[in-house]
């Protein structure tokens, strides 16, 4: 009887132990999230290059914004698609190579801000930093 009691006690402790070890469940970055971090990196570099008097060019992969999967499938939202179109048109104007590259870069960042005021406001702080760079 005593042995059974000890076994029961030990089993209880083992089970309690297993239940208390919670593993952190972290967010897995969506394709859209990764793409947008790349958009930020490009914008910072582009701003720095323009300040140095260099011409900038938007890499082709940045134009593939609309087919990237977002955390909550925002890419399927017609409103998001409209904001994306505005952003992309500014990027294409940058690549048209005329003297208004800085203007269109600023407009592309403003387009990011407009969209994020409606979808996922968290990154607005990132955009504010970028605007003041």
């Amino acid at each position: 009887m005593k042995k059974l009691l000890i076994l029961a006690l030990l089993s209880t402790f083992v089970i309690a132990c297993k239940q208390s070890k919670k593993k952190p469940e972290m967010y897995e970055k969506s394709a859209m999230s990764v793409h947008m971090r790349q958009m930020v990196d490009f914008s910072y570099q582009a701003k720095a290059d323009l300040k140095d008097g260099k011409e900038i060019e938007v890499p082709e992969f940045l134009l593939n914004l609309k087919d990237k999967e977002a955390t909550r499938d925002q890419q399927d939202d017609a409103e998001f698609q409209a904001y994306a179109d505005v952003y992309l048109s500014h990027l294409k104007n940058i690549n048209s190579g005329d003297s208004s590259q800085a203007y269109y870069l600023d407009k592309s960042i403003e387009a990011c801000e407009s969209c994020h005021m409606n979808f996922c406001g968290g990154p607005l702080v990132v955009i504010e930093e970028l605007k003041s760079f």
């Binding site: 132990c17 406001g121 968290g122 702080v125």
Partner: protein, 151 residues
């Protein structure tokens, strides 16, 4: 001898139980936690200031279920504080509700826009009805954390 063996086994099991994994540290976790203010005292510490740097320790009551990009801490007296992470630079585990955390950063009182309130409600898994009922901005106590250490 048999009793000693049993006692040793139970003791080692209890000891291994006590070594539970914490939920980890995030952001810049190189800050002093010894003099952390209890969350229940944080509003007193803020006083009349609109913002103040501090280290606060408290219980996490909810976490953004989309990304872990914000969490709420219990301030006592049915009040909670929303914690965001500096420069949107890191996230916390989405299952860290119920854990104790020490946070370093800036406590502030700010107006949250309707759009952000709706976003927070969506992240918290609220119904569309509850989200649509949000029509006014809200003054909230919030915290911008540069580092989080879960205990």
């Amino acid at each position: 001898m048999k009793h000693l063996m049993i006692l040793a086994t139970v003791a080692s099991l209890l000891f291994s139980c006590a070594q539970t994994e914490s939920m980890g540290s995030y952001g810049d976790a190189a800050f002093e936690t010894t003099n952390a203010i209890a969350a229940t005292e944080a509003l007193i510490e803020l006083g009349e200031a609109s913002e103040k740097e501090m280290v606060v320790k408290g219980s996490i009551t909810s976490v953004c279920q989309s990304k872990g990009c914000w969490m709420k801490m219990d301030l006592g007296n049915d009040q909670q504080m929303r914690i965001k992470f500096k420069d949107y630079g890191f996230f916390v585990p989405m299952n860290s509700s119920g854990e104790t955390a020490v946070i370093n950063g800036k406590m502030m009182v700010e107006e949250i826009s309707v759009a952000m309130l709706k976003e927070f409600a969506l992240d918290a898994g609220k119904s569309q009805e509850e989200i649509d009922a949000i029509t006014e901005p809200k003054i909230e106590t919030s915290f911008e954390a540069s580092g989080v250490i879960f205990e």
